[in-house]
Symmetry: C2
Subunit: 277 residues, 2 copies
Amino acid sequence: MQRIEQHACFGGSQEVWQHRSEVLGCDMRLAVYLPPQAAQGGKLPVLYWLSGLTCTEQNFITKAGAQQYAAEHGVILVAPDTSPRGDDVANAEGYDLGKGAGFYVNATQAPWAAHYRMYDYIVDELPALVEANFPASDARGICGHSMGGHGALVIGLRNPSRYRSISAFSPIVAPSQVPWGEKAFTAYLGEDRAAWQEYDATALVAHGYARTPLLVDQGGADEFLEGQLRPQLLQAAAEASNHPLTLRLQPGYDHSYYFIASFIGEHVAWHAKALKA
Amino acid sequence: MQRIEQHACFGGSQEVWQHRSEVLGCDMRLAVYLPPQAAQGGKLPVLYWLSGLTCTEQNFITKAGAQQYAAEHGVILVAPDTSPRGDDVANAEGYDLGKGAGFYVNATQAPWAAHYRMYDYIVDELPALVEANFPASDARGICGHSMGGHGALVIGLRNPSRYRSISAFSPIVAPSQVPWGEKAFTAYLGEDRAAWQEYDATALVAHGYARTPLLVDQGGADEFLEGQLRPQLLQAAAEASNHPLTLRLQPGYDHSYYFIASFIGEHVAWHAKALKA
């Protein structure tokens, strides 16, 4: 682990680290915000943030303004990159496949299977790395935006013993049923749609995977609302399976970080309450 | 005026507008945050933000997290660009002269004098535009960072009837005495250093220009602290002329927006108090 950025921020430290990922077979960057309480000797809960299409570890830490709330609640924030990186990593034309678009799955298809194992990276390697190198407890929450909202819902639901709290902004709730997901899953997972179900939050909720309560905020003026996000699919599955879901439609808000910034304080507070319970 | 961006943000609206500047002789962009109170029919005070080297109207609105405090206090935020723009505007190699580096002066030297009149743009054209097109009162505060901190101090001090409150982050307090300022002022204003004094906050304070109280935050780990910023020069001038200055050295903080984000809430509150008095 090599630290490549460090900035004082709200009394704590916003850092960016680089490490060799064994799971992904490449060098990866991750952002870590250590709140002021991290200097006091104990271990703190961690909120993992998964970003959306085209993002790196930078977007969340520069635009969301989450550090002030992490400082208030004594929570570490960890924001990884959104795909494997490097010259020998497969890529594609377009912003919605390949680098910057890992979709938090373990790819099974060529040429992606060699490096695109973001599911295992986020579930196993990343928390182990964080808990070995920072004053981080194993009280973990997970949150994300758009493609990262999909990732947070799927990873949280499939690993209830590892994540105590789950929330999302503008998530792709049913990737099996929308163009972004169909394109990515076909490439990464192949044509057999049965293999897609374990990476589809709506399918997981419908099949009664875990009972972890979900908090989802969705902007009412989001340009991707009807074409790619369709939160009503998750809502219907949650109602059918009696899964606890708080879905909030926020009128007027779009898909940008201005939306995230406006409500991230409530998400951090919601996670902090669960992580400290 | 043409609106080119609009995002709901903390209950208000973060907008970016484009207009033809008569003063600068080019098209300019400016960012305007309208807090929720702007929809209630009255006029609101305005805090003008001047950005630093290399910035556009985007940096402050995406990275500082100021909107939440503007929403709390009912203050409009206006963030202009940092120089004239366009293919026919003179430029130079390097980040510290030409586009993105207007230094908030009226240039008198070729080839800069044709467009580089950022002082007049900020003092006259911009407030007139804002007050004609938004629910903005003439209660104005001014704040900025680095080169923009220099601009805020100079413009505020020279126009006490137009700006009720002045603050700065990491300002270039004495451009006549540091490399950034010497390079820019030589190019824009010529070799005669006497002409530089009206654009030098330390000289203005030393000569007793106005009595407007100044709030200045400076990071103790700022990489430009000793070479370019030197707040002790302003402090000495303020002490000698008995000018009210609150200079706060914030240990550990650097020159980045992580520093600004950490303290912008206190600045917005400080301006709001003065603007509503």
